[in-house]
Symmetry: C2
Subunit: 342 residues, 2 copies
DNA sequence: TTGTAAGCGTTATCAC
DNA sequence: GTGATAACGCTTACAA
């Protein structure tokens, strides 16, 4: 059962007018009899007329719809970004069509194709962990199609990107641990093919160096899944195997940090007195665990808003990506809680 | 800069054919010269032809797009549901357009209008906390427009709904607390205008009665915001004011449960030996807090999948809501962890 | 001030 | 086997 939508033609027929007059009346064109205008609007109201956005899209070759492609919806940080995207798009009269890739490259590609078929005006992308080749993006960029990358951004020419200052955040977190007197700081690192992981790792190392500590490769431990179970297991093992006994953990995400915390508790180590822990992202649960978890806040909502602003400005030709290369970097903020302060 | 999309006309021009022939060739219609077909497909490939979904929508009055309206994206449960919706829709060739209402009725209404303008084929809705009048829904239902409600469902005639067994989940949780020997069980209740809140409250009361305990209105405490801060404050106060000292909390959501846990710790009460706590939803952090939090698991992903199945079956006329009234109730599962087992 | 006609991309219908 | 035409709903030169 379809919804019987009244069209301009219906209004025209009822009032013995032409479709063009109705169209003009509805849009307050100059040079329309005000009585006609009144009648048209009244009839539109009566018939519950609603413009057909599909017809408008076809006419204007503009859909007022943007696409969003993310790895996962069920992810606190990404959901925050989506929220920002949705707010900004809504307030500027755009629709958002959303797909998740589940970290699969093939879904990423097919999503882009579907969206292009649907004539989206532009797209926001955070790519999957499987993506190592960026040709499907550069093709679009080369054709001048509006595309903005956020958080997970490719290192390709002319890409417009929005990220947080991962390096700076990691630097600050590590520095903080040093200041609290921790010396043997382990880094639980993310998947190395993501730039964000590398930035965080480098920020950590830079902070150590600046503090006169030489980074030890053995202290950089991969936790590519980023789950608390993984980190717990990894850290439990570490506590036995490492020569230099670690007295702090800087994790690339909050779940790993919690995993580390659980492993320490299990091993009978006091947090923060014996071991300091700092996470990254400042997820909701940071203030709910015991001890509460210090973490680097990433402005997800702002990232969504900023990315969308850039994209829509581009679409609406308010800025020209050819002339103004933009990579926007949002500042992070270290939130210190119990887990790292002694 | 628009993407120069090749159209059927372009292919036709290149090959000196008519648009209709090209269209037929591309769709493998019978009665087309196989050589022509080959040439057309080759040219389509060469020009990187992609069918214009907008034109198809206009032609067929079908957009292959469904709308999703939820209160908040940044909400673990809802994001899980979205994930299920997205998966099912994607696998059946539909797009998902998403809006969040931020719990505002006015946004709910305007979102529906925008989506209708965009000729969505159907819509999935979980309504806002502000929504108390359901006329904007019944209007659509009366016109036979495909609409499926999930989680927060209105009690109006002919509404197709998908919920979890909130009553049953609450019943089981409360029963479990009783079995663990807790007697003065407080319920931290959700906003009463949501049916889910009432169901959970009633499940709690029914379980008490079945255990020979008369529910005490003073032991049902509103926590309408559902934040841990709110619950912590409420519970701290409770511990002093209630005549019958509470020895357990069944919260309508997990954040309230954590708030209660924090308040108890603060008051020097041991969990679970002195106070038992059970939450609702089984959010990620349940296994991360200390002690780990027992909670009622709600199948969010399945809810998304089920709702979408119903909606798409309706759209594709695989079931007739006039004949088969469907309210689908998914089972919950109590996950017992440390906070309630002694 | 209003009407006519063409066109956005596609396909169903009817010709040839 | 293939082509011409009309139609989906709307806007916009151009004409009246």
């Amino acid at each position: 059962m379809k919804l019987e939508q009244a069209t301009i033609k219906d209004i025209a027929r009822e009032l013995n007018l032409s479709a063009s007059t109705v169209s003009r009346a509805l849009k307050n064109y100059p040079g329309i009899n005000s009585e006609t205008k009144r009648k048209v609007k009244a009839m539109a109201e009566k018939l519950n007329y609603r413009p057909n956005a599909i017809a408008l899209s076809l006419r204007h070759s503009r859909s007022f719809t943007i696409g969003v492609i993310i790895p996962e919806v069920v992810h606190f940080f990404f959901s925050t970004v989506i929220s920002g995207i949705e707010e900004e798009a809504f307030s500027r009269g755009y629709n958002v069509i959303l797909t998740q890739t589940n970290e699969k490259l093939i879904r990423e590609k097919s999503s882009i194709n579907t969206m292009l078929s649907n004539q989206i005006d532009g797209v926001l992308i955070s790519y999957s962990k499987e993506t190592t080749d960026f040709e499907h993006f550069s093709n679009l960029i080369d054709k001048g199609f509006p595309i903005v990358f956020f958080d997970r951004v490719p290192e390709i020419p002319k890409a417009i990107t929005v990220t947080v200052d991962d390096f700076g955040g990691a630097f600050e977190a590590t520095k903080h641990l040093v200041e609290q007197g921790y010396r043997n700081i382990v880094h639980l690192a993310g998947p190395p093919n993501l730039k964000i992981s590398r930035e965080r790792s480098e920020g950590y190392q830079a902070a150590l160096r600046e503090s006169g500590i030489t980074p030890d490769p053995a202290m950089i431990v991969p936790c590519p899944l980023g789950t608390n179970a993984e980190a717990q297991q990894v850290v439990s093992k570490l506590l036995h195997t490492l020569k230099k006994k670690p007295d702090a953990f800087f994790a690339h995400n909050d779940m790993s940090a919690v995993g580390a915390m659980m492993a320490c508790k299990e091993a009978g180590l006091q947090v923060p007195s014996e071991v300091g822990i700092v996470g990254f992202s400042n997820w909701q649960f940071c203030s709910m665990v015991d001890p509460t978890l210090s973490s680097v806040y990433q402005p997800g909502f702002e990232m969504g808003v900023k990315s969308t602003q850039l994209l829509l400005d581009w679409i609406e030709k308010k800025f020209d990506p050819e002339k103004s290369e933009i990579s926007s970097v949002l500042v992070t903020e270290l939130i210190t809680r119990q887990s790292s302060v002694r």
